[in-house]
């Protein structure tokens, strides 16, 4: 009896200890959640909880010696103040290895040490950093909306004092220079860009469409009717992406808006000057709804499957779907990563809906800004945007460059994507990334709701209107 009692007490003590441990575990897990902001989303599947600064995790890419020598020669022309520069960005794994390989010649030539910190939670880190004053010298910015916000708070440096402006403006498409400019000051530069709104397919199933792509949306519908029997459904469509779920659907809607209504309407829309309940906007939502209705597995699959695996059914036997709408970065994700470019998969640009907007292209990219104007930060900024450094960055095939001087992409597919970006008659940036964050969050949630309950479209759009009314001004 006495034994039983002391046994109970011992267990009680052990319980308290274990509870403390469990509590510590769960609280540390909750205090550092990995919110993936939209621009960070593409890679978030690869390392949802990547650890800061694991430079050795992925092998360095092999780069051509002449390109490295050229980059090193350029870096040698920069100042040599010594010391170090801190950089914060979302990259981890292979992407980080490629970034570090790009800055290696810079470190060798200038003697400046680049201290990299990786985080998937850029918005939270920078928001708290601005409040506390603990900021990196150079940082990837979550998106244009946040860049505007940090610039308005006076935290971002005027890059014209750090860069060689005439070289930068001559080498960069003016639309990108414009996107990085806030009230006349350049505060953000793009280290890489991606071409959004591409349609991916398996040439072994639907034939080689690269040389003769469907020119219009109607042509694509004809093609779908004709090839219907070759797959279970015409489209693949998956929107799950952790905390940023919904963003892949925003890209689809943006393609419809851009190609139906044109770039002006598109830009007015993300600026809050077009209502969500506008009939043109509603029609575009219904186009997206049509795509969902014709998608592999239907709405339930769309909502629960991760975007990185969205294209996997393209390659199954029999195929689950014929086409996938996604940006150029999909080639590094899911089943795409194990298939061969051109032979197993290829792409064509989003077909024309309204003929005069046929060549409008939507892009996105990693924006960088500087929080401190140190000599080391200035030299690194000059180096990062140079064509020599950008050539190294695009060589492994993951990234496309914002620098017009970069033409030597490693394969024909990247060459074509690069040509689409540089040849666009009008270039617009990802609309959801430019909306104020509450609008962006509501946009994601609205699309998820629409995919689940297509009959509630009107009330969803009205809700978005009321968020629009409150989120473009401070309240």
């Amino acid at each position: 009896m006495i034994q039983g009692r002391s046994h109970g007490i011992r267990i009680g003590t052990a319980v308290v200890a274990l509870v403390l441990v469990a509590g510590a575990c769960s609280s540390s897990a909750t205090s550092a959640p990995t919110a993936a902001p939209a621009t960070a989303a593409p890679a978030s599947a690869a390392a949802a909880a990547s650890v800061a600064g694991v430079a050795s995790a992925a092998p360095a890419p092999s780069l051509s010696a002449s390109a490295v020598a050229a980059a090193q020669a350029y870096a040698a022309t920069l100042g040599k103040p010594g010391g170090s520069v801190s950089v914060l960005a979302v990259w981890g794994g292979p992407e980080l290895a490629e970034f570090l390989a790009m800055v290696k010649p810079f470190e060798d030539a200038t003697g400046i040490t680049v201290n990299y910190t990786g985080t998937r939670d850029e918005t939270a880190v920078l928001t708290t950093g601005i409040a506390s004053g603990q900021l990196p010298d150079i940082a990837g910015l979550p998106g244009p909306a946040q860049m505007q916000q940090y610039a308005a708070a006076g935290k971002l440096q005027d890059l014209s004092t750090m860069l060689d402006m005439s070289a930068y403006t001559s080498q960069t498409p003016s639309s990108l220079v414009q996107l990085g400019t806030v009230s006349g000051k350049l505060v953000g530069v793009f280290l890489d860009v991606s071409a959004k709104g591409q349609i991916w397919y398996d040439p072994k199933i639907v034939g080689d469409l690269a040389s003769n792509p469907p020119a219009t949306w109607t042509d694509l519908q004809t093609l779908i009717t004709q090839d219907k029997s070759k797959a279970q459904a015409p489209w693949c469509f998956s929107v799950a992406s952790g905390a940023a779920s919904g963003w892949p659907a925003t890209d689809v809607l943006e393609s419809f808006v851009l190609h139906t209504q044109g770039p002006d309407y598109y830009n007015n829309w993300w600026q809050g000057k077009v209502k969500w309940t506008d009939p043109g906007m509603k029609a575009d939502w219904q186009q997206l709804g049509q795509m969902v209705a014709e998608s592999y597995g239907g709405a339930n699959q769309d909502l629960t499957a991760n975007f990185a695996n969205a294209g996997d059914p393209l390659f199954t036997t029999p195929p689950g779907c014929l086409f996938l709408h996604q940006a150029s970065f999909i080639t590094g994700l899911g089943a795409f990563a194990n298939e061969q470019k051109l032979t197993d998969y290829n792409f064509f640009p989003f077909p024309a809906i309204t003929p005069q907007y046929a060549n409008a292209v939507e892009g996105a990219g990693d924006l960088f800004g500087a929080f401190h104007n140190t000599p080391q930060a200035a030299e690194l900024m000059k180096y990062l945007v140079s064509s020599q450094a950008q050539t190294l960055f695009v060589a492994p095939g993951e990234f496309l460059s914002a620098n017009k001087g970069v033409a030597n992409y490693p394969n024909p597919m990247n060459q074509k994507l690069g040509a689409i970006l540089s040849g666009a008659t009008s270039f617009v940036f990802d609309a959801s990334d430019q909306m104020p964050t509450p609008m962006q969050t509501a946009f994601y949630q609205g699309l998820l709701k629409y995919i689940q309950y297509p009959d509630q479209l009107d009330s969803i759009l009205q809700n978005l209107d009321s968020t629009q009314a409150s989120s473009y001004t401070t309240h």
């Binding site: 109970g8 469990a22 918005t123 919904g246 629960t304």
Partner: protein, 325 residues
């Protein structure tokens, strides 16, 4: 030398040194007081650092949050109770409030219920410690990891495809489903499933505490009642249960607070989509995504006010128990 090594030395040697130094310093300070007052002042001097920490890290931020909750998004203008008006009128936060009620009721009932049932049952078997260890184990898993595990349990593939989710792999061959568990919000099914994940984690907590209390009941009492002719149900209903009530209350209040704070499971499994939003996740979204300190602080204050009565009951009960001792 590795800077971490220096930190370790500083912590191992420095912290005790500072503590000893502080106690010696307080004795020096006490010298100026008359002998009679010393025993009264000494405990306060010993408590002072803890109180200072408590003030800086708990009281001051709480006041700051309350002040922030009356300001606008950027903390530049006073907006009165607007943020609270928003909280109690916005459909998103109201649905979060409704879901938190489901969390509180269901999690408490399930955790205390299963905890009591299992504690009483395993008390009667020889492999008690093994059974208890197995049920307790999930509590040692972090909420994020548990969520990932259960995402695999609930995973969904379309009709015809191979079901990779455990539950759908079982249900589909018998003709039910596949069910897209995480997106079914009819009758709050997905919220209930999230609560079940938390129940899986926390049943072990209720079980061990209740089991420990069970062991401390004097067996002579139970024997006496059996001798008097009580059957097992009557023994449980009239002897064991009343004696366990204070323990059940402690477990229940702890679980209620856990349910009100629920965040990690929701954040990882649905991020509040498909009508599964909870208050803590709404607060996170306002603070760190929408950058709206006013609304975020207002949610935090509402959450705190909801927790205070539960805390008060808990402390009361604790004091009552101390008094009995």
């Amino acid at each position: 030398m590795d800077p971490r090594l220096i930190t370790a030395v500083v912590v191992v040697v420095g912290v005790p040194a500072v503590l000893v130094g502080y106690i010696m310093a307080t004795e020096q300070v006490l010298r100026i007081f008359p002998e009679r007052l010393k025993p009264r002042i000494r405990p306060w001097l010993w408590l002072a650092p803890a109180l200072a920490f408590l003030f800086v890290y708990l009281v001051y931020p709480t006041i700051g949050t309350a002040v922030r909750s009356l300001q606008d998004q950027l903390g530049t203008k006073w907006v009165g109770l607007n943020n609270y008006a928003w909280f109690f009128s916005d459909s998103g936060t109201l649905s979060a409030l409704k879901n938190n009620v489901i969390w509180v009721v269901l999690l408490t009932v399930l955790t205390v219920g299963f905890g009591l049932l299992i504690a009483v049952l395993v008390d009667r078997v020889r492999y008690e410690s093994v059974a208890k260890s197995v049920i307790f184990m999930p509590l040692a898993i972090s909420g994020t990891a548990a969520s990932v595990i259960w995402l695999f349990m609930f995973a969904y593939q379309p009709h015809g495809a191979a079901q990779t989710g455990t539950l759908n792999a079982v249900l589909t061959p018998v003709g039910v489903g596949p069910v897209p568990f995480m997106t079914v919000s009819n009758f709050s099914l997905n919220t209930i499933l999230l609560v079940i994940v938390m129940t899986w984690m926390w049943t072990g907590f209720g079980m061990v505490i209740i089991s420990a209390a069970l062991k401390s009941i004097n067996p002579e009492l139970l024997e006496a009642s059996r001798v008097d002719g009580a059957n097992e149900w009557q023994v449980f209903r009239n002897i064991i249960f009343p004696l366990l009530t204070p323990t059940l209350a402690v477990v229940a209040t702890t679980v209620i607070i856990t349910a009100l704070k629920a965040f990690d499971i929701v954040y990882v499994m649905t991020n509040g989509n498909f009508d599964t939003q909870v208050i803590a996740n709404a607060m996170y979204q306002e603070l760190f995504l929408n950058d709206d300190f006013g609304r975020g602080s207002a949610i935090a204050i509402v959450l705190m006010i909801a927790i205070i009565p539960v805390m008060a009951v808990n402390i009361r009960r604790f004091q009552a128990q101390e008094a009995i001792r």
